[in-house]
């Protein structure tokens, strides 16, 4: 181990009514855990449960009511972690019409946002390729996910900004119906947005300055190429203040009944050799880009927090030849010393490779929300 005080791992996980798990208990290996099984057996759900305990929400389902098992309406997760040589028991309880409860060592948290960043986590899934191909929302989600885990002030400004933005949008709808334009209240919302927006803009700018060198180094290592990659921050706040932008767009906003400028419209431009990735990259380059951006997120979290995040790899070895799988596994083990969870549809491919490499690991076959005993 590189540094004992960097370590954090999940020892035990108990799922009740989580997606297709009725009740199941897992005891994990501190280094590598591998789940295999056919599609639809619950491998992704298991990784998602681990993500849930870190981020207080699912990576895959946006609505908690979709998380509990079919025909049930509540779920519970219990995780036992070893974190900086302390035992931490985290329990999540979600019931309909009741506030979501998170308990850390039996103490319920007042605010769920306090928990974000306590157990850093990085999730890599095949669907993540949409971060490159699809709308800007997913790229902002990536930014926010990383910054929220490392900077609690960022998260509180973001929550504040979103709340005011919702109120402003609701007000824009209201005045459209009433045909009265009380400009004073809009001005007030603008002023309330200014402070959190400025903070978020600067935090995102600073983050990308630190992120890009790490990202390039990792990309070049895993792709074995000398190409340079980049993540460029695109924000209207670059060179203008939000107050100014909002007042310029006021008429438009009233017409559209929503707020058309602000940090909720920021985007990231992904580049390969200074060209937009979306247009110029091959399938393989996209895949390497995605993997590198997530592993750079891992490194960034580790550097900021002084704790190795948990790495969740969902079916990422699909369509890779055995040689590439082996080199990737080797790279992960040597360079990313966090606890790793891997899911794969092949029963023996990854476990066999790990055995050959002489790496201690746990292998469980998942069948219909149970592990094969």
């Amino acid at each position: 181990m590189e540094n004992a005080c960097l370590s954090m791992w999940l020892n035990q996980l108990i799922l009740t009514n989580y997606k297709n798990y009725k009740w199941e208990e897992f005891n994990f290996d501190p280094v590598i855990n591998c789940f295999t099984g056919l599609n639809g057996m619950g491998k992704t759900n298991l990784l998602d449960a681990i993500y849930y305990l870190s981020m207080t929400k699912s990576y895959i389902s946006t609505n908690d009511s979709l998380v509990s098992r079919f025909n049930t309406d509540y779920f519970r997760l219990e995780g036992h972690y070893s974190r900086l040589e302390q035992h931490e028991k985290i329990v999540a309880k979600v019931q309909p019409n009741k506030a979501k409860v998170f308990e850390v060592n039996l103490n319920p948290l007042n605010k769920l946002s306090e928990h974000i960043g306590f157990l850093p986590v990085v999730f890599i899934a095949p669907d993540d390729i949409s971060i490159i191909m699809e709308g800007s929302e997913l790229r902002r989600k990536f930014l926010d996910n990383t910054l929220a885990q490392t900077n609690t002030t960022y998260l509180s400004h973001l929550l504040h900004y979103n709340r005011v933005l919702h109120q402003r949008n609701a007000y824009l709808k209201q005045i459209a119906n009433e045909k009265n334009t009380d400009a004073i209240l809009l001005d007030i919302y603008d002023e309330q947005l200014e402070k959190p927006a400025t903070y978020i803009y600067h935090a995102r700018t600073e983050f990308l300055k630190l992120f890009n060198p790490v990202f390039n180094e990792i990309y070049q290592k895993i792709s074995n190429e000398k190409e340079t990659v980049g993540v460029e921050y695109q924000s209207k706040l670059d060179g203008d203040s939000l107050l100014n932008l909002l007042s310029l767009n006021k008429k438009r906003d009233v017409f559209l009944q929503r707020t058309s400028v602000g940090i909720h419209k920021d985007d990231l431009l992904f580049t390969l050799e200074e060209n937009p990735l979306k247009k110029y990259a091959s399938q393989g380059q996209r895949k390497s880009f995605l993997l590198a951006i997530k592993l750079a997120q891992f490194t960034y979290l580790k550097n900021c927090l002084g704790i190795n995040p948990i790495l969740l790899l969902d079916d990422i070895f699909d369509k890779l030849d055995p040689f590439r799988v082996q080199s990737l596994i080797n790279h992960l083990i040597t360079n990313f010393k966090g606890q790793i969870f891997i899911s794969d549809t092949h029963n023996h491919r990854i476990p066999g490779m790990l055995t050959d490499l002489g790496v201690s690991h746990l292998h469980k076959e998942i069948i219909d929300g149970k592990w094969k005993k």
């Binding site: 609690t152 109120q167 402003r168 209201q174 009265n180 009380d182 004073i184 209240l185 001005d187 007030i188």
Partner: protein, 205 residues
């Protein structure tokens, strides 16, 4: 729940329409009322009916009142130059219980929250402006909850009032009295450090 009496069932149903009262509590209350002397139950129901029928909103401050003008606004010993702006009647009661305030109140009837359909026009803001315009008011104290919607309301009111030559203040935000620093949340504690007060003004009471 099976009832042997339709009369009991009706009473239980009526009681369980109250906030925070479930079926079982409603039953307990109804059975208790059955065992009370009749005149006591009658005076109980009279109290509720006459409250509903006769209660008014004070024409000056919108506080609940028996008369057109409430007992606080009509009290000659209250300082009329000082108006404390609050969200609801409950806040008036909470501040009255402190015995620290000798001015008058203004009840807004809510805070600005378009998400819940409450715009500025739904609140008693015009009443406040005309009070300030037509009377000698020196200071407005905003006693509004320090939430995002509370801040919006506060900004809005202070913009509406800025043309008048009056002092506008807000209640202090900070560490709770008798509370321990290590248990204060970061935001509150941070704010208390930034808006700290000179020591002498704490000790005078």
């Amino acid at each position: 729940m099976n009832f042997s009496s339709k009369l009991l069932e009706n009473a239980v149903k009526a009681l369980s329409t109250l906030p925070g009262i479930g079926k079982k509590t409603a039953l307990r209350l109804a059975l208790h009322l059955i065992n009370q002397p009749e005149d006591q139950v009658e005076s109980f129901s009279r109290a509720i009916v006459s409250m509903k029928k006769d209660i008014k909103h004070c024409q000056v401050c919108c506080n609940l009142s028996d008369d057109i003008i409430c007992s606080i606004c009509s009290d000659p010993s209250r300082v009329k130059k000082l108006i404390c702006v609050v969200e609801s009647v409950r806040d008036v009661m909470a501040i009255e219980d402190t015995n620290q305030f000798r001015g008058t109140y203004h009840v807004l009837g809510g805070i600005i929250s378009p998400l819940e359909g409450i715009g500025p026009s739904a609140l008693n803001i015009d009443g406040l402006i005309s009070r300030v315009a037509n009377n000698e008011v020196e200071e407005i104290i905003m006693a509004i909850s320090p939430t995002i919607e509370g801040e919006t309301t506060l900004f809005y009111l202070s913009k509406q009032l800025q043309s008048f030559q009056i002092k506008i203040s807000t209640i202090a935000r900070g560490v709770a009295f008798g509370g321990e620093l290590e248990y204060a949340d970061e935001l509150t504690l941070g704010r208390s450090i930034i808006s700290r007060v000179p020591y002498s003004s704490i000790s005078e009471d």
